[in-house]
Amino acid sequence: MSLLQISEPGESPEPHQRRLAVGIDLGTTHSLVATVRSSSAEALPDSRGRVLLPSVVRYLPDGAIHVGEDAKDRAGDDPANTIVSVKRFMGRGVADVAKFGALPYRFVDAPGMVGIETAAGLRSPVQVSAEILRTLRERAEQTLGGEIFGAVVTVPAYFDDSQRQATKDAAKLAGLNVLRLLNEPTAAAIAYGLDNASQGTFAIFDLGGGTFDLSILKLTRGVFEVLSTSGDSALGGDDFDQAIAVHWRVHHGLADASGKDTRRLLVAARQVKEALSTQEEAGADVTLSWGQQMHLKLSRAEFEQITAALVHKTLGPTRKALRDAGLKAADVDGVVLVGGATRMPHLQRAVKSHFGREPLKDLDPDQVVAIGAAIQANALAGNRSADDDWLLLDVTPLSLGLETMGGLVERVIPRNSTIPVARAQEFTTFKDGQSAMAIHVVQGERELVSDCRSLARFELRGIPPMVAGAARIAVTFQVDADGLLSVSAQEKTTGVLASVVVKPSYGLTDDEVARMLREGFDHAQADRDARLLAEQRVEAAAMLAALKAALAADGDLLSAEERESLEARSASLERAARGTDPRAVKSAVEAVNRASESFAARRMDRTIARALSGRHIGEVPTS
């Protein structure tokens, strides 16, 4: 992969000064963290050598929080306070979680996203996920011996805007600088593609604990281009466990088993499911809450029969992704299996028969996503070397639109648009003298607003009185490289402007995230200040280094006064960073940012002009 050998303005100016960057796979059943060390990516184990951290968080009445194996071991005794598979609740309302079947939690209806009542009080899925991420951050910092510069956190490709935003909030809450949200199948493709120097069209079939993604990618000369993605953000290995548990309930007359029993049955179901990947028959011992001991059994044939419908559910999204990419199953050069649930033999058979080829599974399906994320994190942190250059082009999984008259959806950005993408749509008033317009942003493929997910509502006010149809209101959607949407609306004849970053309806504002952060650190005020200062210093150092490199490369774009003013601001930033006030460092960083705005724009113009003057990739001297 040595095609795009150009030193980019945003990359690390000092190659030997590596920044610690990690990739985190925040999974439904388990999570893990990986990093690139001495040019190869590896997952980081905990102090006892375990790489996979069960995504289980237990809240105790005394305020203690257990994460991982300790929490998982007690899930059967204390199900209501032990949150398992929290990823399924991210950005989801009460009506959504009801679809997951019997769960032992005390859900609380909160606007947009459920809350869970625990022994430690009401917790949002964002906070629960943040505990998992914090545990992994600490593991990485202990192993790598320093502050983490930034992280790439993976999300299912089919996650909608609310679920993505919730994940990013959780990472912020865990004290992580999120370099990018990366789609899980895309992460797997990076790990796989760079490992095998693959070329061609690949399907990534990713069935995790709670989500299913199918992405089609084209790999050419160092470019990973996602052609289409599809999936089901509520289908995963957990559903197979549920199917087994339901089967046992029906066949052993356990219909009124309690919350504890629900969890115990699910734990047993999971063991049996995993065993059935290599055995023809498996069983597990369960002690029920009324003291009864049972040995529950299942044969592979029974398992395959009761879960055939679940396997079949993966085929619809698979066909849709192929159709969106304009391909047939036979056009695919390789199918990569990702996610622990792809170990099930009947699932592998279904994939093989659909694509007419043996799927690839030479990378550990549990680790490949984190490995890919670590490789991307390493590149984004500016650590990449000249011979390790590649480009990633991803897409938005679901169409974005607006509600129009009659509850219909007007599509603004179609699914599978390469991101970042922006699109504007014009609307007009329907009443004489109408002074405000309600804007309702939705995501999904269906024509009726009620069948799509509502992302945000806001109002454009102050439209001057005009006859119906005279106003020209342009609504602009921008999806950034994380796949997150922001929307702005402007009345064009007057310039009245309204804009929102689409905060999901659960409405965690930046202030609320900051408040949660504060609460988390309340008992450790000094820690918090030290952490803030350390973060700001990292930011300052990165900015100063980038600016220095920019001045060296393109200083001629500035007049003497402009250069002087920039240098003065960067000198005060250096001074502030030597001090101990995080707020002073922050405002100095912002000052340098503002002062360098037009410089950054001019440098980019020069980059483009150079590209257009006929110098092509590979001809630009590396520096």
Binding site: E8, A481, S596, E597, A600
Partner: protein, 180 residues
């Protein structure tokens, strides 16, 4: 600070302003540009640089998306020449074209009613053949002939085919999901 928008899509990608283009050259130019401006190149840079990068990458994606699709490319090129394709306002079509449309639509409705994916795929195939034919005519109209009025009319027809194809895709999806 917006990226300067004075260059049109062709110029941005360093290509001649013409309907005929080599898809490979287009893709090469696009990837070359994107590899310079993509936000991933600036992930650890300052906020300003990150924003400028996002605007440029957005612009590059828009140019590539428009030029890659023959219908979008034709419409865009006609716009540059000062011709409005009038797809919303001008819906007059020759009778034989309308007849063909009606036949296809009936076939799609029938296929949809009984979830017949094979029948739907068959219509899709016929549609693809008709499209190739029209695209060849369009290339002539916008190329050597410089007959931009004919170009506008072909764009309108192709738009009809696109809409029909969307309906087929939706019907195929519905068939897959078992919904009406």
């Amino acid at each position: 600070m917006n990226p300067e928008f004075t260059r049109n899509h062709f110029e941005l990608l360093g290509l001649p302003v013409a309907f005929a283009l080599e898809l490979e050259a287009l893709e090469r130019s696009y990837l070359d540009l994107q590899s310079r401006v993509h936000p991933d190149r600036f992930a650890s840079a300052g906020e300003t640089e990150r924003r400028v990068a996002m605007q440029w990458a957005t612009r590059a994606n828009e140019a590539y998306r428009t030029l890659r699709n023959p219908l979008d490319r034709a419409r865009y090129l006609l716009g540059l020449k000062g011709f409005d394709t009038g797809e919303e306002s001008n819906t007059a079509m020759p009778p034989d074209f309308l007849m063909q449309q009606m036949e296809w639509r009936e076939a799609v409705a029938a296929g949809r009613a009984v979830h017949d994916a094979a029948a739907l795929e068959a219509v899709r195939g016929e549609l693809a053949a008709a499209r190739r034919e029209m695209q060849a005519l369009l290339a002539r109209a916008l190329g050597g002939e410089r007959n931009y009025d004919a170009g506008c009319s072909l764009v309108r027809k192709l738009r009809f085919l696109d809409r029909l194809e969307e309906e087929i895709d939706d019907a195929l999806e519905a068939a897959g999901e078992g919904r009406p």
